[in-house]
C-alpha cells in the first residue's frame, strides 16, 4: 500500500510538471479572458461575466475547501472512525438550499437588467442589413442603398488550403481578414438586421459583445454602438456551423469617426451608381 501511495504521488507530481511545462511561454491575459470590448454593451456583458466568474470562484473555494478538509481530516489511514449517526440535518440542508437561491437571485437581477437593455433596439441612427451566404457576408446600408459582399481575404484563402505549404504565421491576420470590410461610424447606435440566404449563420464581433443568428427567411435585430473614442478595426467570425467553409467567413468592421464615415459612405454611393 505504501508503495502504491508513493507511486501515485510520484505520478501526480510528474503530471503536474508536465502541465506546467506545457503552459505556453508567451501567455498573455487577452488570451485567457473575454475582451472588455469597445462598446457599452460589451462592457456590460464583460462585467456580468466577471461577476459570475468571481461568484463561482468564491463558491468553488468554499466547496472545494470543505471537500479537501474532509479528505485530509477524515482519512482512515489517520485513524478516523466513521460517525454513522450523521445521516441528515434538516437545518444544514435547508441552509444549503436557501443560500444558493439567494446567490442566484443576486445574479439574476443584473442579468435581467442588462438583457432588457440589450434587446432595446429603439432610437437607432443607422440601419445595416447583414445577410449570410455560404460563405460570405453581404452588407447593405438601408438608408443609403450602399451594398457589397465581404469575403475571406485572398492571402488567407491561399494559405488555408489543405497542404498549401504556406505558414499561417506569415499571413497578416490569418483567417481574420476580408476583402471589403464593413465600415461603421463611432458613437452611433446602429441597428443591425440579420438574415441569411441559405443556411443559418451567426454574426459576431467579440469587441462589440453581441452575437446573433442570421436565419434564412427571418430577420433578427440587434444593436451595436462603438465608443466615440475607439475608432479602429475589429474582427470576428461566423459563429454558427454553416457548412464546409464555416471557419472561413470572417467579419471585419472598421469604425470611423462620424464625419469620416459620412465621407466614406458618400464615396461608396457615388462609386456604386
Amino acid at each position: 500500500m505504501s508503495i502504491a501511495k508513493r507511486n501515485s504521488r510520484l505520478s501526480a507530481i510528474a503530471g503536474a510538471l508536465a502541465t506546467l511545462a506545457a503552459v505556453p511561454a508567451r501567455a498573455d491575459w487577452s488570451l485567457l479572458n473575454m475582451p472588455r470590448g469597445v462598446s457599452e454593451l460589451s462592457r456590460e456583458i464583460y462585467d456580468m461575466h466577471m461577476i459570475m466568474l468571481w461568484i463561482c470562484l468564491a463558491i468553488a473555494i468554499l466547496t472545494f475547501g470543505a471537500m479537501a478538509v474532509a479528505m485530509i481530516r477524515f482519512r482512515k489511514s489517520r485513524g478516523a472512525v466513521a460517525d454513522t449517526r450523521m445521516l441528515h440535518n434538516a437545518r444544514l440542508e435547508a441552509a444549503w438550499t436557501i443560500v444558493p437561491v439567494v446567490i442566484l437571485i443576486g445574479m439574476a437581477i443584473p442579468s435581467v437588467e442588462k438583457l432588457i437593455k440589450i434587446e432595446d433596439t429603439t432610437g437607432s441612427q443607422l440601419t445595416i442589413k447583414v445577410t449570410g451566404y455560404q460563405w460570405q457576408w453581404h452588407y447593405e446600408y438601408l438608408d443609403s442603398g450602399v451594398a457589397f459582399f465581404s469575403r475571406l481575404a485572398r492571402s488567407s484563402d491561399r494559405a488555408r488550403q489543405l497542404g498549401s505549404g504556406i505558414d499561417p504565421n506569415t499571413v497578416d491576420n490569418y483567417l481574420l481578414d476580408v476583402d471589403h470590410p464593413l465600415v461603421v461610424p463611432t458613437g452611433t447606435k446602429i441597428r443591425v438586421l440579420l438574415t441569411a440566404n441559405d443556411v443559418i449563420h451567426a454574426w459576431w464581433v467579440p469587441a462589440f459583445g453581441m452575437k446573433r443568428d442570421a436565419i434564412p427567411g427571418f430577420i433578427n435585430e440587434m444593436w451595436i454602438a462603438v465608443d466615440k473614442d475607439k475608432p479602429g478595426t475589429y474582427r470576428g467570425q461566423c459563429a454558427e456551423l454553416c457548412g464546409a467553409d464555416h471557419g472561413f467567413m470572417p467579419i471585419v468592421v472598421i469604425a470611423k469617426p462620424k464625419a469620416e464615415f459620412q465621407a466614406w459612405l458618400a464615396q461608396q454611393k457615388a462609386a456604386q451608381s
Binding site: L193, T195, G217, F218, I219, N220, E221
Partner: protein, 296 residues
C-alpha cells in the same frame, strides 16, 4: 425456449431463458431501415430490400406474439408478469403520446409564432420586410405560396364534412370496444365477438373514408404534403394517426381471432385490454386532430 423444461413453481415470475427473436427482430428492422434509406436515395435495389425488411418484420410479429400467446395459454404468466405487461404497454402508449406531441408542437409553433412573424406581426415583426406581400393567417401555405398548382392556390377540407363523419366513426368505435370489454368481463362471448368485430369494421371504414379524403385533397384540392406548412402539418398529423389506426385495427382483428379461438377469460385478458387502451389513445389523438387541424 427451454423454459418449460424445468419444473416451475406456478407462483414464480416467468423469465424466458434465451430467445432468437430479439436478434432476428433487430436484423429485420435493420434491413427495413437500410432498405428505406436506399429507396429514398434512389438506389434500384432499395425497394426490394425494403420489401424484404417488411416481410421479415411481419414474420417477427407473428413469431413474437405467437410465442407470447403460447406461453400465456400454457399458464406460465402469473399476476406479476401480467402487471409488467400492463405497465410496459402504458409507458409505450405514453411514448407514442410524446411522439404526437412533437407534431402538435410544430403545428402550434407555426400558427402562433412563425406564420405571424413572416406576416410582419408579433415580436419578430421585422421579418415582414422580407415578405412584403404575405398576409399571415391560417390556413396558409406560406409566403412562397407553395402548392402543386401553378397559381399557388389550394383548398382545404372543411371540418364538418367527411372529417366529422370520421369523428363519429371513431367515437362510436370507442364505445363498441368498451361494450365488448364489458361483455368480456361478464362472460358474454357472443356480444364480445360482435362488438369487437364492429370496432375494427368501424376502424377500417374510417381508413377508407380517410383514403378517399386524401385522394380528393391530392388530386382536386391542390392540398399535398408540399402545400406549405398547412399541408405539412395536416398530412403528417393525420397520416401518422392513420398509420396508428391501421396498426390498431390489425391488432383488433388479431384479438378478435383469438376470441374466436376461445382465448382469454373474464379475469385474464391483458392482450385485449392493451389493444383497447391503444385504440382509445388513437381515438383521443383524433379528437385533438379534429379540433386543431380541421376545425379551429
Amino acid at each position: 425456449m427451454a423454459a418449460a423444461e424445468h419444473a416451475r413453481d406456478p407462483g414464480q415470475y416467468y423469465f424466458p431463458h434465451g430467445s432468437r427473436l430479439p436478434f432476428y427482430g433487430s436484423v429485420s428492422l435493420f434491413v427495413l431501415m437500410a432498405g428505406a434509406a436506399a429507396t429514398l436515395n434512389g438506389a434500384g435495389a432499395g425497394a426490394w430490400v425494403l420489401g424484404l425488411g417488411f416481410v421479415m418484420l411481419c414474420v417477427l410479429f407473428f413469431l413474437w406474439f405467437g410465442t407470447v400467446i403460447h406461453e400465456n395459454q400454457a399458464g406460465l404468466y402469473n399476476e406479476q408478469v401480467d402487471r409488467s405487461f400492463r405497465m410496459g404497454m402504458m409507458w409505450f402508449i405514453f411514448s407514442e403520446v410524446m411522439f404526437f406531441a412533437a407534431f402538435f408542437a410544430a403545428l402550434f409553433y407555426a400558427r402562433q409564432l412563425s406564420v405571424p412573424w413572416l406576416g410582419g406581426e408579433g415580436e419578430k415583426a421585422v421579418t415582414g420586410l422580407l415578405w412584403p406581400d404575405f398576409d399571415a393567417g391560417w390556413p396558409t401555405n406560406g409566403p412562397g405560396a407553395l402548392s402543386p398548382r401553378d397559381d399557388g392556390s389550394y383548398e382545404i377540407i372543411p371540418a364538418f364534412g367527411l372529417p366529422a363523419v370520421n369523428t363519429a366513426l371513431l367515437l362510436t368505435s370507442g364505445l363498441t370496444i368498451t361494450i365488448a370489454h364489458h361483455a368480456m368481463k361478464m362472460g358474454h362471448r357472443g356480444m364480445l365477438k360482435i362488438f369487437l368485430a364492429l370496432t375494427f369494421l368501424l376502424g377500417f371504414t374510417f381508413l377508407g373514408v380517410q383514403a378517399r379524403e386524401y385522394g380528393h385533397a391530392y388530386h382536386e384540392l391542390g392540398l399535398q404534403l408540399g402545400t406549405g406548412i398547412y399541408g405539412s402539418t395536416f398530412f403528417m398529423l393525420t397520416g401518422f394517426h392513420g398509420l396508428h389506426v391501421t396498426v390498431g385495427a390489425i391488432m383488433l382483428v388479431v384479438i378478435w381471432l383469438r376470441c374466436l379461438k376461445g382465448h382469454f377469460t373474464p379475469r385474464q385478458h391483458f392482450a385485449f385490454e392493451a389493444v383497447a387502451w391503444y385504440w382509445h389513445f388513437v381515438d383521443v389523438v383524433w379528437l385533438g386532430l379534429f379540433i386543431f387541424v380541421y376545425w379551429l
